[in-house]
Each structure stands twice: as structure tokens, then as C-alpha cells.
């Protein structure tokens, strides 16, 4: 028996800042100190605090360490594991109170969460099926196969009120029932793991941290719907998740938890991984199915819906990673328990990704009905550097922005829709006062325009035209009727596009126009960018009394347009060659370089 387990996060976030090196250093250092036979190092999936990586959690104390880099490991081992006291240097601090946080349980970010889907993430080693089994793994599948009829499973899912976590929020039980009723066979189940939204990584964290939960959910679904074959469609960029899925599938086959005659009941289920080639549109279910079949990923009109005619023309059920991972706890604890969490209309929890201008960047699972304010200011720890909150964008590139006055909105599918945004995958990108909303809308329009598959003209041409107008406005060449044109185009693209990509692409523009119209007007009429972001609307100058003549700005200038004022020691910017890149503004240590936009007061 070991007295201590050191859990080292090996999710993509932490491995990219060196957690494998940390693990190796820990192993060597423990060996060196003769502690290897009392202390275990365990690799886990994502713990949720990606910005503090590499993170490590020490059990049984519950001490949470941040930024555990290999060079700090010898000291950490000496302090914590030899002398038995926490290593202060690597303890995190609360962003709001500045208190040092001793254990994970004291961390608001963690103790505010309700973890159902991510219950095993950051707790077990995802590459060991035994650890999953230790935490009731595959018991739900065993229970379903030996004790329940397929119809009973569907009744249970329906009673729970579970809705699809992919974004649209369609009732999962209903979807399964439609599929069950389809008279054709064979049938297929598919897991949509083509998570492509910028700033969204919740599915990745589940796949990397607890791949078996997805496998088990799919096997249960397949049994309920009468399918015997399943596919996990995952994007190629998720290398670690792909690797762990392969390991999990192999282990499950070996343990006879996938394959023929599961639990001796005669039910067969085969599962394979299909890797996507990196097209955003393949997250759309009809495009996804074509891609699984090996064809070009382009959407098809619906109906026929996948439950009628899906993969190879047969009934197919597609659910998101998170939906599949929710099935297991739901079956184990029952529909009644599940429906006691969340709101009237939306039951259970949702994994959200907090990103952008927020202190606690990472993955957090919260019940539906949590308000945006709680999410951003309590769990997320607020906006860093004392900046003012401006808006939050929910639901990825095709979601809308929500301004400050709606922060007390409880988050669920309908409430976000009412504000012009969407739940989408659950991404939350926080924007502070330093961001220009026109530029923000332009960025996401560019993303959607790039990712449009080109099949239907409203999306292919419409998003391009909208982008052209937005580029023009940001460049200071906007015209008075541009806002009207944007609104007309947005309505057209929204109404006439073939699939969800085009239908939701105008959302960022529409919501910024709704809540931040004054910023558009400032760009068009005053040629001013109030947030001082749009390059072409900026003006840089050096405040002579503040200039110390250090020459940093002159050396940083890529076009050499900063020179000394005559024979003086001080510097000035020659406007005619200035490209408004802001390099001088960034480097000045005396706030002597001023960044302004026409009609604005000169400030630092």
C-alpha cells in the first residue's frame, strides 16, 4: 500500500506546459529519496485549471499545486514528501482575496462545482481501466443489460429530462425513442467529438480524462436503440484524446466489455474511432456522417433526419461526448436524482469552458440555472488586472455576446436564446473594456467565413459579404448604410443557410449590433474606435514632458518612424510612415506614448 498519491494532470493543457517532464522528475526524485515504495505518481486527465498548469494534487491531504515545473520538483519532494509540510511557493492564491489556498477543497473554483460528467476527470488514470472500474465503471452497462429492457432504458432517459449537450438541447430520450422505432436495421450510434469552437475544450477534457465513460454511455445507448455498431468521430487535432480512446477501446475489448455477448446477454457492440480532417462544419451531424463514410464533409438538407436515414442510409443516432458521458451516472443514480438538479426546463449539469479575460481559465461543471454572474465572478474569479467586464460570448463562434445588464440571467438553453445567443457547446469567452466589439464580431465572422463549406450560397457568399463590410468599418471606411446592410444580410444568411453553421454565423454581429450599436456608430461616423483596438483608427504620439529619451520606442518601431526631436534628447513619431502597430506603446515604461482614436481625450 502507498501512503500518498501524487496526481499529475496530463491533459493537453498541462502536457503542453511540461507535465510529462514534471512526472519524470517526480519519479526520479522520489527514487533518489527512497520514497518510491510509499508514494505513487498517477497520471490523470484534466483537473480544470488549465491556466495554472502543470497542476498536481496530493492525496490524502488534498494539497493542490500549480505550475509544478521540473526544476521545482526536488524542493517540492524535500518539503512535502520528506518533511511533511506543504511547499508554499507552488500553492495557488485566490485571485480576489489574495489568500494562499492550502487544499483543493478551499478553492472556490472547485468547491462551487457539481461534478457529474467530470466526476472521474483528474481523479483516475484514464489509461487504466481498473481505476475506472473501481469507481463503478461499467456497472451501469451491466445493470442495463441484465436488469432492464431497452424500452425501460429509454423511459428512464425520458424521465430524467436529459437534453442533448451538443448545443440544440433536443430531448435525448425522445431522440432515442425515434431511433428505436425505426423499423430498419442495422442501426448505428455515433459520438460527435468534433469539438471545433475556439475557446471550447470541455469534450476534450472528458475524452482525455475519462474515455471509458463515453464508451459505456454509447454501449448503453446502442442497447436501448437496437444498434450493434458505433463510431466516435473525433478531430485529428486532439492527438492525446485519440490515443486515450484507442487505449480505452482496446482495454474494454480485452475485458469483454465491448465486443460479442456482453455480460453473457447475447448483446454485441463494436466501436471504432473515425478521425476527422479538421473541418469545423463536420461537427454538423449530416456533414459528420458523410465524413464517417469517407466522403467529403458537407451538410445535407434535413429531413430525412439521421434517425430515418443516416450512415449508409440506415437509422443513426448522433450524440455529443457530454451527452454520452452523462448516461452512466444517470443510470446508476436514477432519473429522479438527475431531474432534481438544474432548472424546470433543463435538468442536470453542463461543463463550461471559461476563457478570455477571466482569472480562473479552465473547465467547470455547474448545474443549469447558475447565473452568468456566479459563473464569471465566483467560479471564474472575475476579470483580471482590475479591468471592467464588458460582455461574455456564449456558445462559440456562432454564439452571441451578452452585456453586463444581463449577468443575472440563469444559464439554460431558452434564456440564452432569448438574449440572442446560444448555449452551443458551453464556451464562455469573457471580454473586457479593452476589446472592440466590432473587431470581435469581425474575428468570428472571419472564422465562420473560413469554415463555410461552400455548398450553399447564403453561407458561402453571405458571410463573405458581411466580413467585407466589417473589415471596411474597422478600417474606418464604413458608410452610414452599412449597419442596415449588415442587418439585412444577417437575416438572409440566418434564414436561408442549409445548416447550423450558416444559420448561426450572424449571431455575433446581430448581438453586438443590438447591445453595442454605439461602437459601430463611433467607427462609422466619428471614425473612432472607443476601445482603441482597430489599428487604422488609431493615432500614436509621444508626450514630450514624459519622454525620458530612453530610445526603447525608436528601437521597437518596425518602420523606423520614431526619431529624436531636432537635437533634443527626446523622441517623436513621424505620422506619415506610422503603421499604428502599437509596438512603441507596448514598450514605453513611462507612459509617454499615447494611443488615441479621433475625438477621444488623450489618455495613457
Amino acid at each position: 500500500m502507498k501512503r500518498t498519491h501524487i496526481l499529475v494532470c496530463t491533459g493537453t493543457g498541462c502536457t503542453s506546459c511540461g507535465s510529462f517532464q514534471t512526472r519524470d522528475a517526480l519519479l526520479t526524485e522520489l527514487q533518489k529519496n527512497g520514497l518510491s515504495n510509499e508514494i505513487d505518481v498517477v497520471e490523470t486527465g484534466c483537473m480544470g485549471r488549465c491556466d495554472l498548469g502543470p497542476v498536481a494534487l496530493v492525496h490524502p491531504e488534498g494539497t493542490f499545486y500549480k505550475n509544478v515545473l521540473a526544476p521545482d520538483v526536488p524542493k517540492l519532494v524535500e518539503e512535502h514528501f520528506l518533511k511533511g509540510r506543504p511547499f508554499q511557493k507552488l500553492l495557488p492564491t485566490d485571485p480576489q482575496t489574495q489568500n494562499v489556498i492550502q487544499t483543493q477543497a478551499d478553492f472556490t473554483f472547485f468547491n462551487r462545482q457539481l461534478r457529474i460528467v467530470r466526476d472521474n476527470c483528474g481523479v483516475i488514470d484514464p489509461e487504466k481501466i481498473e481505476e475506472y472500474i473501481a469507481r463503478d465503471g461499467y456497472l451501469a452497462l451491466g445493470k442495463v443489460l441484465t436488469e432492464m429492457k431497452p424500452e425501460q432504458v429509454i423511459e428512464e432517459i425520458k424521465a430524467s429530462g436529459l437534453r442533448g449537450r451538443g448545443g440544440a438541447g433536443f430531448p435525448t430520450g425522445r431522440k432515442w425513442e425515434l431511433m428505436r422505432q425505426a423499423p430498419v436495421s442495422p442501426k448505428y450510434v455515433v459520438c460527435n467529438a468534433d469539438e471545433g469552437d475556439p475557446g471550447a475544450f470541455m469534450n476534450r477534457s472528458v475524452l482525455e480524462g475519462d474515455p471509458h465513460s463515453v464508451l459505456e454511455g454509447m454501449a448503453i445507448g446502442a442497447y436501448a436503440m437496437g444498434a450493434n455498431r458505433g463510431f466516435i468521430y473525433i478531430r485529428a487535432e486532439y492527438g492525446l484524446a485519440v490515443k486515450r480512446l484507442h487505449i480505452a477501446i482496446e482495454q474494454a475489448y480485452k475485458a469483454e466489455l465491448l465486443g460479442k455477448n456482453l455480460f453473457g446477454t447475447g448483446f454485441d457492440f463494436d466501436l471504432e474511432v473515425r478521425i476527422g480532417a479538421g473541418a469545423f462544419v463536420c461537427g454538423e451531424e449530416t456533414a459528420l456522417m458523410r465524413s464517417v463514410e469517407g466522403r467529403r464533409g458537407q451538410p445535407q438538407p434535413r429531413p430525412p433526419f439521421p434517425a430515418q436515414r443516416g450512415l449508409w442510409g440506415k437509422p443513426t443516432n448522433i450524440n455529443n461526448v457530454e451527452t454520452w458521458a452523462t448516461i452512466r451516472p444517470l443510470i446508476l443514480k436514477g432519473a429522479k436524482w438527475f431531474s432534481s438538479i438544474g432548472t424546470e426546463k433543463t435538468k442536470g449539469t453542463k461543463v463550461f469552458c471559461l476563457a478570455g479575460k477571466i482569472n480562473n481559465t479552465g473547465v467547470a461543471e455547474l448545474p443549469f440555472g447558475t447565473t452568468l454572474r456566479e459563473m464569471i465572478f465566483e467560479v471564474g474569479g472575475g476579470v483580471p488586472n482590475g479591468k471592467k467586464f464588458k460582455a461574455v460570448q456564449t456558445g462559440g463562434p456562432s454564439g452571441g455576446v451578452i452585456p453586463e445588464q444581463f449577468l443575472d440571467t440563469p444559464v439554460e438553453y431558452e434564456t440564452l436564446q432569448k438574449l440572442g445567443s446560444i448555449m452551443g457547446s458551453g464556451g464562455m469567452v469573457v471580454v473586457d473594456e479593452d476589446s472592440c466589439m466590432v473587431d470581435f464580431a469581425r474575428f468570428f465572422m472571419e472564422f465562420c467565413c473560413d469554415e463555410s463549406c461552400g455548398k450553399c450560397p447564403p453561407c458561402r457568399v453571405g458571410t463573405r459579404q458581411m466580413l467585407n463590410i466589417l473589415n471596411r468599418i474597422c478600417a474606418g471606411d464604413g458608410e452610414l448604410d452599412d449597419i442596415q446592410k449588415l442587418e439585412d444580410l444577417a437575416a438572409m444568411v440566418k434564414d436561408t443557410s442549409l445548416c447550423g453553421l450558416g444559420q448561426t454565423a450572424p449571431n455575433p454581429v446581430l448581438t453586438t449590433l443590438k447591445y453595442f450599436r454605439h461602437e459601430y456608430e463611433a467607427h462609422i461616423i466619428d471614425k473612432q474606435c472607443p476601445a482603441r483596438v482597430c489599428r487604422d483608427l488609431l493615432h500614436f504620439e509621444i508626450d514630450e514632458p514624459l519622454c525620458k529619451g530612453c530610445s526603447l520606442c525608436a528601437r521597437a518601431c518596425p518602420v523606423q518612424t520614431i526619431g529624436r526631436i531636432g537635437t533634443l534628447k527626446k523622441f517623436e513619431i513621424h505620422e506619415e510612415k506610422c503603421i499604428h502597430c502599437g509596438a512603441c506603446f507596448e514598450v514605453c515604461r513611462f507612459d509617454a506614448v499615447k494611443k488615441t482614436s479621433p475625438g477621444m481625450l488623450v489618455t495613457a
Binding site: H5, E38, H59, P60, L82, K83, G84, V123, G142
Partner: protein
Amino acid sequence: MNLEELKKLKEKAQRQVALRDGNKKYRVVFSMGTSGIAAGAREIMTTMLDEIDKRGLDDVEVAVTGEIGLVDAEPMIRIEEANGEKVTYARVNAADARKIVTEHLEKGKVVEGLAVGKVKE
């Protein structure tokens, strides 16, 4: 695999990860300062871990701390119960360590001859 086999596998595997659940009934704290280590605390701890494992006790966690000052009485072990009871054992050897596991941790009986102090908070 059938359901019975799965449940058996679960029981076996559970002990591997039980440590990560927290809230154990007993917490065994080893005095692991210089004098404790010199008196053989590390070996005693290994022995004890081995015995705990052999008996399959998963409601126990083991921790280390610095010395409390009574250098002469090392190796010292303090057993803290979840109800606030604390028992200190002094001059523990390998055989004692195994006895503490079987008597105190398994049956809940304080090993009278070895205990030097008992406090309830």
C-alpha cells in the same frame, strides 16, 4: 465478463484508489524528523503500510510530520480518529507496528502497554 466478475474486479481495484476519496476514519501520523528517521521511523512506516495492505484496511490514511520534541521517545506514531480522539505511541518497533494495526486500526482497541498519551478534542 459477467456482472459478478465485474463487481469482484471493482472491489479489488477500489483499494488502489480509495486513498483519493478522503474522509478516512483513522489518520496515522509518523513523526518523521531527523531523530525519528534515525530511530527507524521510515522502516516502521513501511512495515505498517504493508500490514494495513495485508489486512485490507481502506479506512486509514498515513501521513508524516516533523518531530514534536520528545526525541528520546522516537519513533513516535500518533493515531487520529475522525471523532477527535488522538492516541500517541512511543518507541515503536516493527512488531509493535503490526500490533497497532491489528488491534487499534482493525479492532478499534488502544494498545495499552504502548500508548503514552490519549487526548480527545
